[in-house]
């Protein structure tokens, strides 16, 4: 464990307070950042927080292999759980029983396919997620339509959905609340928006929107750029 990392429950509490709790069933949240800043790690933190509370998580990985996501879970669990090797293996197995990873390779993702897969899981395995994490979604065409589709999906299934949103350095569009492209015209559909901002040897987690409030005050939380673990400043 890193010396700057709060141990076990403390770290989970950090996630809950800053990132995890804003969403209720049927609501949609977005995590914005540039490529390579730590969106996957942060989403995995959010997912783990739910898993630690015993809530099933469906982790959707778009254009990436499931193995990569599994490794993130293992790594974060290893760092978060201050337990022996045996206990960790046991914890991993317990959490894995409540987590399901769906990967869509080579641009095969669509919300319709996700619906179908979720239906299969619910009918065939009685798996009912409380949280769906969508990582790696593309917003190349009509970002609002994409967000709207996922918003509708969350509402219909009564699940909280967190998704990653990639921002681009070269697109300087943002709305009056400071929400950048591609969410500048769909922030009304998002219950919570977080952003990851690198600088000064750390990655700052900022809450851009929570409920109807923009730029609310919140405890400052950083992501260690080496380990992608959360920490206090």
């Amino acid at each position: 464990m890193q010396s700057d990392q709060p141990a076990g429950q403390e770290a989970m509490e950090l996630v809950r307070r800053t990132l995890g709790s804003p969403l209720l069933p049927g609501e949609l949240g977005g995590l914005m950042a540039r490529a390579g800043v730590g969106k996957t790690a942060c989403l995995t933190h959010i997912a783990l927080e739910h898993l630690f509370q015993g809530q099933p998580v469906l982790h959707v990985c778009i254009d990436g292999v499931a193995e990569k996501i599994k490794i993130w879970y293992q790594e974060l669990m290893r760092n978060l759980a201050s337990s022996s090797r045996d206990q960790l293996a046991d914890l991993q197995r317990r959490l894995e029983g409540k987590r399901f990873i769906l990967a869509y390779l080579h641009h095969t993702f669509s919300v319709q396919k996700l619906e179908q897969s979720l239906q299969n899981l619910e009918e065939q395995t009685a798996f009912h997620p409380a949280l769906v994490v969508v990582d790696g979604l593309h917003f190349d065409h009509d970002p609002r339509a994409t967000v709207a589709e996922l918003h509708e999906f969350a509402r219909r299934h009564g699940v909280a959905v967190w998704m990653s949103i990639r921002t681009h350095r070269h697109i300087a569009i943002s709305n009056e609340h400071g929400i950048a492209y591609p969410c500048h015209d769909s922030d009304d559909l998002l219950q919570a928006i977080l952003s990851l901002e690198p600088g000064g040897g750390a990655i700052r987690v900022r809450v851009l929107k929570h409920g109807v409030q923009y730029q609310p005050e919140h405890p400052e939380v950083l992501l260690n750029p080496q380990t992608y673990l959360l920490r206090y400043p």
Partner: protein
């Protein structure tokens, strides 16, 4: 004849089942003029492919045993091991990889990187085997070699670099575009023997140029000369070849070639690539342990005059007697030489030395360093090291997984009994994952292995090769028992029945451990148990591990510590302390939370996406923990962990649930506690069996 050492290539051909690797091997033999006719794998012409020489393999169209064969391509001697694709026979793949210098990973242009390819690749990585990829079946409908290359990068994390582009695909597949020479290669004549070199068709030229740029970018990372030549516009083919070879040998680049072995396209350039880019014995360093120097590691030298060191990596009982395949790592082996088995110290004379060509052989006088040969009449087991007696080196032993399934077999008559015994002796020597023992209580012969198919094949071989008539029981899962908490013991063994008595007291505790199956800790101070009886205690405890009290299966994951005891100057003995330890273990075991463990398999199902839901259902019904589902175009790959006990007959269920369109592989993952209700059932059955045995 001494082979050209530097030019020798010892290669394996590994892949997912049905990727066409046996067909590819067959074509290689044809083009290297080892055979003069081509036969189909499934033996439609009644002959069958040369490498699948076992009758059963011909019938099922799968490769069960690896067959070694020798050929030459442009003065390069090549030893090829054709390896099986089914995961049940993975030990064959592992043994082959251990002795190979390089490998060809065959992938299907339609199926892409499938589950078994991932397993095989992991094994290659374990043994640091540089590889080439060959994307086969480019003539099939749906063939997409570029997608396969992408999968190699994504799924196997390989730096896969195209050396060729397809010249047409599916029914229009004519050949390949060589991106180094920038020429189009077509394969003409009845069996594609005539390779014609022509210009790249204009409509493919820009794609080829772009792919060549990517190739040069990737290769230049391994060669400053090539980087300079690119900048100066003076790139030569040789510079590119050298850079690719360097990257391949460092396992940092995987050259990708393509074609269709079945349609005789792309095989000759693959052979060129094997000779050009894969390492020979001169490029690799193998280490052994010097038993005379406290097992210090020594690097073996590829020198013909140094003491001989060779590894027996495969045994077979052929119709000519026992055949031992060896790989020479140092020195030279001559017919008539005396060799020493380092494990047993036994000396043997090399009577016959042969080079194998599937099931045919060629007598040779001498085998050079780096080569693969076969010997007759040598008594050893797979994995033994041989030397000429001048050194006592041992090669590192190979990773051998434990069997997870067992089956009772019963010969029908006395004659069959003899033959079964003969067959089992042979199979256990040949295959370290295949084990056998006699169940004392029932008198049944039990065979154990890595999966249903694994055992099925051996039973079938007994019937066919030994004309044995036998009946088999239901396959049984290899359950284990373990403990979940610490429990103390303090047991006194005392017996006085006239003559010398027996006395021993043992105190301590047992507790769970993750460090192996069993650990013994001696915490005795002050000689409460005399030193000479400590080993007796250990022996007594170990005797208890063979059969647990719950279901009569071995106990694993237990640490036993002794911290007190007592002895008698006359009545204490080795036997008394063994008995005391047995009593102590029994006393504590019931209090230590004993429970059953079962083998859990990692199951990977590949299915058309329309059956995703159905397949999920079949796995869920089997107590499966479904971990991931990946969708790629029209296919879904589902990964789950399922108890082995639930997997019997799954292939039939899957076939009928998916109209035969899905396939699955499974391999052992871990042992996991059996759910309470099922454990109770198993324990009840065991107790009933015990009672019925007693009443008999």
């Amino acid at each position: 004849m001494v082979d050209d050492f530097a030019a020798t290539r010892n290669i394996g051909i590994s892949a997912h089942i049905d990727s066409g690797k046996t067909t590819l091997s067959e074509r290689i033999l044809y083009y290297t003029q080892r055979i003069h006719a081509i036969h189909d794998v499934k033996g439609r012409d009644g002959v069958g492919a040369k490498m699948d020489f076992m009758e059963l393999e011909k019938e099922r169209g799968i490769t069960i045993q690896s067959a070694a064969t020798y050929c030459r391509w442009n003065e390069s001697p090549i030893n090829i091991i054709d390896t099986p694709g089914h995961v049940d026979f993975t030990i064959e793949v592992e043994r082959a990889l251990r002795v190979l210098d390089g490998a060809v990973l065959v992938l299907c242009a339609v199926g892409g990187v499938q589950s078994q390819s991932v397993t095989v690749d992991r094994q290659m990585e374990r043994y640091r085997v540089p590889r080439l990829a060959f994307v086969n079946k480019c003539d099939r409908t749906g063939a997409d070699p570029l997608r396969v290359v992408q999968q190699l990068r994504e799924k196997l994390n390989q730096n896969a670099v195209l050396l060729q582009l397809p010249l047409g695909l599916e029914s229009g597949h004519e050949g390949v575009i060589d991106l180094v020479a920038m020429k189009a290669l077509r394969f003409e004549g009845e069996h594609g023997d005539e390779v014609t070199v022509g210009d790249i068709p204009p409509d493919l030229l820009s794609q080829a140029q772009e792919a060549r740029e990517q190739l040069l970018d990737a290769a230049s990372l391994f060669s400053d000369e090539l980087t300079e030549a690119i900048l100066e516009g003076e790139v030569t083919d040789q510079l590119i070849h050298d850079a690719i070879r360097r990257g391949t040998l460092a396992l940092r680049l995987t050259p990708v070639l393509m074609g269709s072995a079945y349609k005789n396209k792309g095989v000759q350039p693959l052979l060129e690539a094997v000779c050009r880019y894969l390492p020979g014995p001169a490029d690799t360093t193998t280490y052994a342990r010097d038993l005379d120097q406290d097992e210090a590691e020594v690097a073996l030298k590829n020198a013909p005059d140094l003491p001989l060191v060779m590894l027996a990596f495969k045994l077979e009982v052929s119709r000519y007697g026992q055949l031992t395949y060896v790989r020479l790592y140092q020195g030279t082996l001559n017919k008539g030489d005396t060799i020493v088995n380092v494990r047993t110290g036994k000396r043997s004379k090399v009577g016959r030395l042969v080079r194998m060509h599937a099931d045919e052989m060629e007598e040779i006088e001498r085998a050079a360093v780096g080569s693969i040969a076969a010997l007759f009449g040598i008594d050893c087991t797979s994995g033994d090291t041989f030397t000429d007696g001048r050194v006592r080196y041992s090669m590192t032993s190979m990773h051998v997984p434990s069997p997870v399934i067992s089956l009772a077999i019963k010969p029908a008559d006395k004659k069959s009994e003899m033959s079964v015994s003969k067959a089992l002796t042979r199979f256990t020597k040949e295959d370290p994952t295949f084990k056998t023992y006699l169940e004392e209580e029932t008198g049944e012969t039990i065979i154990c292995g890595m999966g249903e198919l694994h055992l099925e094949v051996y039973v079938e071989r007994m019937r066919r090769e030994y004309q044995v008539e036998l009946t088999t029981g239901m396959p049984k899962v290899a359950y284990r028992e373990t403990v979940s908490q610490r429990a103390d013991f303090n047991y006194t063994h005392k017996k006085q029945t006239g003559g010398a008595g027996q006395y021993g007291r043992v105190a301590g505790f047992l507790e769970p451990t993750a460090e192996g199956d069993y650990q013994f800790v001696n915490m005795i101070t002050g000689g409460a148990i005399p030193t000479e009886f400590i080993a007796s205690c250990d022996k007594g405890f170990q005797a208890c591990l063979k059969k647990g009290a719950l279901a009569g299966v071995p106990i694993v994951g237990v640490q036993v510590a002794i911290n007190d005891g007592a002895a008698h100057s006359v009545d204490s003995s080795d036997l008394a302390f063994q008995q005391a330890a047995i009593g102590a273990f029994r006393e504590a075991y019931g209090k230590a939370g004993p429970h059953l463990l079962e083998p859990v398999m990692k199951v990977v199902v590949e299915t058309p996406s329309e059956f995703q839901g159905t397949v999920l259902g079949t796995l869920n019904q089997r107590r499966g923990l479904i971990n991931t589902t990946s969708e790629d175009r029209a296919f879904s790959t589902i990964e789950a962990e399922v108890p082995l006990a639930e997997m019997f007959g799954y292939s039939t269920v899957l076939r009928s649930a998916t109209q035969g369109k899905a396939e699955f592989t499974m391999e052992f993952s871990r042992y996991s506690p059996v759910p309470k209700s099922i454990a109770e059932e198993i324990i009840k059955r065991y107790k009933e069996d015990q009672l019925s045995q007693k009443s008999k």
